[in-house]
Symmetry: C2
Subunit: 212 residues, 2 copies
């Protein structure tokens, strides 16, 4: 497998979709799939799929297609999903609760190993089998549960301090849902989700259709 | 303003971030901002900002910067946020509930005008002032509330049929959170959120750091 640091973010972002679709294909009992059929299911061109996968090495056989099981294993390795990543969700409001129950995360190799909240009414409750811990124990919980990735679903005004505590406690990745721009050290991998982006994108295209 | 259909999706996806950051800047009482300072706050280069905005026309004044209020109004118009978009959330589980309460949506011009669920225990409840309607009344609710965009937060196995009902009822955009690839007519704007993408991206980069 190539270890190409130049692979684009867009390619990396498409891989989970390939992964999920291939698992669906596998569950239908299909062993081999063409880039045309895979592209049709995902909604990208076969050329795009071939190009994306070629960034990482040679997969599939010309005129035959991709071996589904093999490609799933390869993408899983590329994405690092064959490892066991422990994640902690900080802030058990509705969004944190939804993420704790989001089955796709579990199915691709992430384990929600800890939930934390500052609200005494929530501490001690169980969500999907995990007890909600007290925010003031954050550092201890991160160590005890060997947490690699922290998920920030706290209110915006405490998001930065939460990120700093997570970094100091040893997490290496942060997945942020608070609508603020967080500052973290360069060696911490930060991905921020902005839920208004998707909706704004719809608004943008609908406005233009209406204008034309 | 240019009406350039060639503007990249990446540019369109960055605009909401500019918009939100500029509103923050405005709330701090700042009237003029340089692309350097704006870039620093957002985490992109000043060149990127200038390039993105140049896709739509001429903004800002060389050597002075961007007039904050004017740029906010311009980006709002580009994104179609100055219109009033009514959205309906289909499926009031934790994720639907979280979205109904997600303040950023309201603050940028989307109105959650309807909530629907099939669960009789939820029908009639109020979330953020909106009563949950019965899924079987979907077509009527879409018409009565003049819904433009449907948000799909139902389980994966009923997502496609939900999308079809929304389209038949007249919505023009669909924001999908169910982990399935939906088929909709070409004139419907579909944006699918895959919450596992962000986490997989973190996993990808952490794996590579660990390997090097």
């Amino acid at each position: 497998m190539k270890n190409n640091a130049e692979v684009s973010k867009a390619t990396v972002d498409r891989l989970p979709l390939y992964f999920r679709t291939l698992r669906q294909v596998q569950s239908e009992g299909i062993d081999i799939i063409s880039s045309e059929e895979l592209g049709r299911r995902i909604g990208v061109t076969p050329e795009q799929i071939r190009k994306d996968l070629a960034s990482f090495g040679e997969f599939g056989k010309k005129g035959v297609g991709y071996f589904v099981r093999e490609l799933i294993r390869n993408i899983s390795e590329i994405l690092g999903l064959h490892r066991n990543w422990n994640i902690a969700i900080i802030g058990v409001g509705h969004l944190g609760w939804a993420l704790a129950n989001y089955r796709s995360l579990n199915s691709i190799g992430f384990t929600v190993a800890a939930l934390l909240d500052a609200d005494s009414a929530k501490i001690g409750q169980r969500v999907n089998g995990i007890e909600v811990s007290d925010m003031s124990d954050l550092e201890q919980v991160i160590k005890d549960q060997d947490i690699h990735i922290g998920v920030i679903t706290v209110p915006a005004n405490v998001a930065q301090q939460t990120a700093e505590r997570l970094v100091a406690a040893g997490v290496r990745g942060i997945w942020n849902f608070a609508p603020v721009v967080l500052k973290v050290p360069d060696d911490i991998r930060l991905v921020s989700e902005d839920l208004s982006v998707g909706l704004s994108s719809i608004s943008y295209y609908l406005s233009r259709v209406a204008r034309e």
